[in-house]
């Protein structure tokens, strides 16, 4: 085992979150603990409302956990961001064109304008949007907007990417294309990706590991290592992925049925 294999980029230690409602405190997250290595692709899989987004926001530093803590590999320096967020939609700024959106993370880190434009330009080309560099997001399809969000996250040179169902609102074909693209970019530029999804197949296709979450309060009920060899290909690996999907569903079924109050 090399150093890189044993290193820990991120560790969640008993992270809990509760908020107060009219009917008293509601526990959204209950004691989430896991660690993730640098360069690892971790999928967080769970039904809607299980607290996946809350967990992601806590890791991003946008929410404070009620208990527990998130520890990063290096101590988080002030002003130096540790994570980049990619949302399902509306994650790119409508008032910035494609190039400025992609360069946003670099700008926040204080990279000088000529350099950040050059770096953003190179990445815009890599995701095939060179012809749209000066376009605004409303002129692009939703799939293209997501590519802008992904390019922004990767070009910013941050060690951790947090993706909150980035392909959740896309049609099947576009989703497939973007999954391929994400895998391609990630294999060239490995960082820790925490990828939240409710799509079992997507988790099996993308992840090195899948953390299965169940809801109210959200906790990690299962953890699976996906052995599928990389580089993966959605078409070539479709049978293996579909097997995995079956396995994961078996693990999830009881919880989902409980959530829907279905008696077997």
């Amino acid at each position: 085992m090399t150093d890189a294999d044993s290193a820990v980029a991120l560790s969640c230690q008993g992270v809990s979150h509760s908020f107060s409602s009219r009917n008293g405190p509601v526990e959204a997250l209950g004691e989430i603990s896991f660690t993730a290595k640098p360069h690892e692709f971790v999928c967080i899989l769970g039904p809607s409302g299980c607290g996946k987004t809350t967990l992601l926001k806590i890791i991003a530093g946008l929410l404070r956990p009620t208990a527990g803590r998130v520890v990063f590999e290096e101590n988080r320096q002030r002003g130096s961001p540790q994570s980049g967020l990619v949302f399902q939609e509306h994650g790119v700024f409508p008032w910035l064109n494609v190039l400025d959106n992609v360069a946003f993370g670099l700008e926040m880190r204080g990279v000088a304008r000529p350099e950040r434009r050059a770096r953003a330009h190179a990445f815009v080309e890599r995701v095939g949007l060179a012809a749209f560099e000066n376009h605004y997001p409303h002129e692009l399809s939703v799939g293209m907007q997501q590519r802008v969000g992904i390019a922004r996250a990767f070009v910013s040179n941050i060690p951790i990417l947090l993706m909150d169902e980035p392909f959740g609102s896309l049609d099947a074909q576009t989703k497939r294309g973007l999954q391929e693209e994400l895998l391609r970019i990630w294999s060239q530029d490995r960082k820790l990706v925490l990828f939240v999804t409710h799509d079992i197949e997507e988790a099996a296709l993308l992840g090195d590991r899948v953390l299965v979450m169940t809801g109210r309060p959200g906790r990690i009920s299962e953890e699976l290592t996906i052995q599928l060899e990389r580089p993966r290909d959605p078409d070539r690996d479709r049978i293996a992925v579909s097997d995995l999907r079956w396995q994961i569903w078996q693990l999830l079924e009881a919880d989902v049925r409980r959530g829907l109050s279905i008696q077997v």
Partner: protein, 256 residues
């Protein structure tokens, strides 16, 4: 095809009205005292431009609209941004804004003239106050309708407060601020004309009132035409400005 021919329709209607007005007025069917022929109004307008009456009155009006709009608009934008960003400030001040906004601002003129005299200061001030309210309300709404997602994305990338202001808050509220400017400009122009009708010796409003007092109906029409053109120019100019400042919104402006 339809678009191109429909574009000529308003021009056609305008020409038809002017031509029949001219004809009816010349034929004596309608009173040329109440409805002087368009050609007569045009002649009066030309003369008033040449002898400097119209330009000096127009200048007097613009010298009230522009400083009033600048003063009130700027104050409104600043307070609106602050109120949009700070919940506490909003809760403290919003009731006053909501209470004073519906009041016709022209009612403040007598009081302002008592405080600041009958000179330009009281006039510009009442215009500024009128322009202030649409701006403050639109700016505040503009800040508040920005999706919290954008702030979260910016924060996750480590944006400083200054960057959040310049890269999220300001551009995000810009479209509504610009419609605020347009509303404020219209209100400022309207109040200026009203103030001039009431209490000024020069200005388009004063000229309109003078024309009525001396029963120069042709001059009245000429001054009204200039007023209409100025109003149109303010609107079109600000719309053009908006499309340049917020190019990401061009296709989404519902007023066009």
């Amino acid at each position: 095809m339809l678009g191109a021919s429909a574009g000529w329709l308003p021009t056609g209607i305008l020409l038809a009205v002017l031509v029949s007005w001219e004809a009816l007025s010349r034929a004596g069917v309608i009173s040329s005292l109440l409805f002087p022929a368009p050609s007569a109004v045009a002649r009066t307008l030309w003369e008033s431009i040449v002898d400097g009456v119209m330009p000096s009155n127009l200048a007097a009006t613009l010298l009230r609209v522009v400083p009033g709009l600048a003063l009130g608009g700027l104050a409104g934008a600043l307070l609106g941004l602050a109120m949009g960003a700070s919940r506490r400030l909003r809760l403290a001040i919003d009731p006053f804004v909501a209470a004073i906004h519906p009041m016709p601002k022209i009612t403040l003129l007598p009081l302002l003239m008592i405080f600041f005299g009958i000179g330009e200061a009281s006039k510009v001030l009442v215009v500024a106050i009128a322009a202030f309210f649409p701006m403050v309300i639109n700016t505040m709404a503009g800040v508040r309708q920005i999706s919290p997602l954008y702030f979260e994305v910016a924060e996750s990338y480590g944006a400083s407060r200054r960057k959040i202001f310049s890269r999220v808050l300001l551009p995000g509220s810009m479209p509504m601020m610009l419609s605020g400017v347009r509303l404020s400009a219209n209100v400022a122009f309207l109040i200026t004309i009203a103030v001039e009708i009431l209490a000024a010796e020069r200005g388009l409003g004063a000229l309109i009132w003078l024309s009525w007092e001396i029963l120069r109906v042709d001059l009245l029409y000429a001054a009204m035409a200039v007023t209409a053109v100025v109003g149109l120019a303010i609107n079109t100019g600000l719309y053009r400005l908006a499309t340049r400042v917020v190019p990401w919104q061009i296709d989404r402006d519902p007023s066009r």
